[in-house]
């Protein structure tokens, strides 16, 4: 029977095109847009001390890899508090920050950065290999095109922060 006699085949073909279009759409996801969404979740699933104010200052420390993607978190509410984004060059003081994302460009000075934050409830984030073992609380990486993360529970608790059980369950590695 000819193709013209089977209109249904055309519909099936068009449905196939729809699936291809959906795949193309899923492929268009920049790395740092997805990482910005992870940062939001890290903030949301952290238990902050009661003394923390109503605004959480998220500081990007070093050369910002997010570009404008992280700006989408500006004014969003997580854990009952409003997020404000700041960019700090390496070497700038971080005294007003509640969350510090240590960019790859600032990893050389990580020990000094962590020392300056010691004893304060500041959530430290990164996306550099080995950063969790060097003391950041949540470290993202890419595995098979997907974002994964590892958690340093010891560092978080030392700073007076509690990471939710959900974060710990989904982390690829937890340092206790």
């Amino acid at each position: 029977m000819s193709l013209l006699a089977r209109p249904l085949r055309w519909v099936v073909l068009l449905l196939g095109l729809l699936v291809l279009a959906a795949v193309a759409r899923a492929d268009d996801l920049p790395e740092y847009r997805l990482k910005a969404a992870f940062v939001y979740n890290f903030i949301a699933y952290t238990e902050w001390p009661a003394a923390t104010g109503s605004t959480l200052n998220l500081c990007i420390h070093g050369a910002d890899p997010f570009g404008t993607e992280i700006d989408g978190l500006q004014g969003k509410v997580a854990a009952g508090r409003t997020i404000a984004i700041f960019r700090k060059s390496a070497g700038e003081p971080l005294k007003d920050c509640n969350i510090v994302f240590v960019a790859a460009s600032a990893m050389d000075s990580l020990p000094r950065t962590l020392e300056s934050l010691r004893g304060r409830p500041v959530l430290t984030l990164s996306d550099s290999p080995g950063a969790m073992r060097r003391g950041t609380m949540l470290n993202m990486s890419i595995a098979q095109g997907k974002v994964t993360f590892e958690a340093n529970l010891l560092a978080a608790r030392s700073a007076g922060l509690e990471l939710s059980s959900k974060l710990l369950r989904l982390a690829t590695e937890v340092q206790q």
Partner: protein, 85 residues
């Protein structure tokens, strides 16, 4: 029924089926094209559970929207509801 009338009926039925199929196909194609025109946005990502984010694949590993280094910027006003444990 004369033979040529039955043949006409079949022709009309085929034409109707074709029209339905074309309409349906155009609708599906339109939906598909509109979906592909809009990549996944940050607000959409923020509504997804963490488990779902872990399953998403990035487009080009290591791609960055552009390095930017700047000094302290003023925070915006809070306007939206959010998520918490």
């Amino acid at each position: 029924m004369p033979r040529h009338h039955a043949s006409d009926h079949r022709a009309v039925d085929r034409l109707c089926a074709w029209r339905r199929a074309v309409h349906c196909g155009l609708l599906v194609l339109g939906l598909g094209l509109s979906a592909s025109a809009y990549p996944i946005t940050l607000p959409q990502l923020l509504r997804m559970p963490l488990e779902q984010l872990l399953r998403l694949e990035i487009s080009v590993p290591g791609a960055s929207p552009g390095l930017r280094r700047s000094t302290l910027t003023a925070p915006f006003e809070a306007t939206e509801g959010g998520r918490g444990p």
